[in-house]
């Protein structure tokens, strides 16, 4: 077998076999075939190749359809006179309504969860800020009467120690939180904190703490 030199006609031969040519091309090919033995031979070969095309057994369409995803939208394409289709549409509507209800419920749940989360974070933030404030504000919490009482019970050294620890904490700009490890503090700081805790007994955490400055002894 030899190839015809007319590549354009040869390219059209498969379309000729499948009857896919326009009227113009069909006329050109048929005219050419009359006088070209090579193309006639090639055409016979193409027809043979088409003839041995695998013939497949019938597929189970229902199996395929059962596996297909469902369309997302439903419209009026289904005809009203088809009762079966209408029934299917009713089922779809119910399913669609349930789907919308589920989505709405989900949105509400998420909103509630988000609100609780915001409230929790806010409460934690306030607590931490308050604790941070209290830790930095080491000014003793005693008023003048408390100072006098302390001096009476323990002598001036007790108050001096308390003042020293307060001044040390202020100069270091140390941020001390209640969640810290006790080993982070010196013995003096721990004692000072214990002393302050003794003074805080009975006061609620929600109440603002007194901020009366310590007066030097004798003032």
């Amino acid at each position: 077998m030899t190839d015809c030199s007319n590549a354009e006609i040869r390219d059209l031969l498969p379309d000729y076999v499948h009857d896919q040519l326009s009227v113009t091309d069909l006329a050109r090919v048929e005219q050419h075939l009359v006088s070209c033995a090579d193309c006639a031979e090639e055409l016979a070969l193409l027809q043979t190749v088409l003839a041995i095309r695998p013939q497949v057994r019938t597929l189970n369409i229902a199996d395929i359809l059962a596996r297909l995803p469902k369309p997302d939208q439903f419209s009026t394409v289904t005809t009203a006179d088809n009762a079966q289709v209408a029934a299917i549409d009713d089922v779809r509507d119910i399913a669609s309504a349930r789907s919308v209800a589920r989505k709405t419920s989900n949105v509400r749940n998420w909103r509630a969860i988000a609100a609780v989360a915001v409230m929790t974070v806010s409460a934690l933030s306030i607590t931490m800020v308050r604790q941070n404030y209290n830790s930095n504000k080491v000014t003793p919490l005693a008023d003048s009467s408390t100072v006098a009482e302390l001096q009476t019970r323990s002598g001036p050294n007790a108050l001096k120690g308390l003042q020293d620890s307060a001044n040390a904490g202020s100069s270091d700009n140390r941020v001390s939180l209640s969640v810290g490890d006790p080993s982070d503090y010196t013995d003096e700081e721990l004692q000072a904190m214990m002393a302050r805790l003794d003074k805080w007994d009975g006061s609620t955490s929600a109440e603002p703490l007194p901020s009366v400055p310590i007066l030097p002894p004798g003032s």
Binding site: H18, Q20, Q47, P54, Q55, I64, P69, P71
Partner: protein, 183 residues
């Protein structure tokens, strides 16, 4: 005829739109129109096992991505493209040696159309063997062009190649078949 192709493409597009609008009967029509060609193409690609499952997977994949179908190519071309990718994925996954196409595979071939009555059995057998000798790319192009009637552009879309490359593969395949038959 070209008009028939355009009518087919228009019908496919309408069926796709109907399915997207919720008409499940359109899916049935689409499957019935293209399933036989997909199974035939799968066999031509050398698939010999679980052909029906492959066709099913092709439709499932296609319907799951119908929103991305833009009608720039025909629906059948698009389906062929998906099926071919699935075949390649299956080959990679199974890592098994690819068996050559056997167009007379007993699983798929159950008979011949009317034209076979005038084709000698010897010629038919020889042509079948000639196709088996082609390279994979040549065979895919040749089958799509001759047995499925796809254009070079459609073949290029399916194979992820160019029209020029598809044309070259087709003519090389034709030359190889002729040489085999002349021997």
């Amino acid at each position: 005829m070209e008009a028939d192709r355009q009518a087919d493409a228009l019908l496919d597009q309408q069926l796709v739109e109907r399915w997207q609008a919720g008409d499940e009967r359109a899916a049935s029509a689409i499957v019935e129109r293209h399933a036989p060609a997909l199974k035939r193409f799968a066999v031509s690609l050398g698939v010999r096992e679980e052909v029906d499952e492959l066709v099913q997977d092709t439709f499932v994949r296609a319907f799951g991505a119908l929103d991305s179908f833009r009608s720039e190519s025909s629906l059948r071309t698009w389906l062929f493209t998906i099926e071919r990718r699935l075949v390649l994925d299956r080959r990679r996954t199974e890592q098994r040696r690819r068996n050559d196409v056997e167009v007379n595979d007993s699983d798929a071939v159950t008979g011949y159309d009317a034209l076979d009555t005038i084709v000698a059995e010897e010629v038919r057998t020889r042509v079948s063997r000639a196709l088996e000798k082609l390279s994979r790319m040549q065979r895919e192009v040749f089958v799509l062009r001759v047995q499925e009637g796809r254009s070079y552009k459609e073949i290029a879309d399916i194979l992820g190649s160019s029209e020029g490359a598809a044309r070259v593969h087709y003519h090389n395949a034709m030359r190889a078949v002729k040489e085999f038959l002349d021997d």
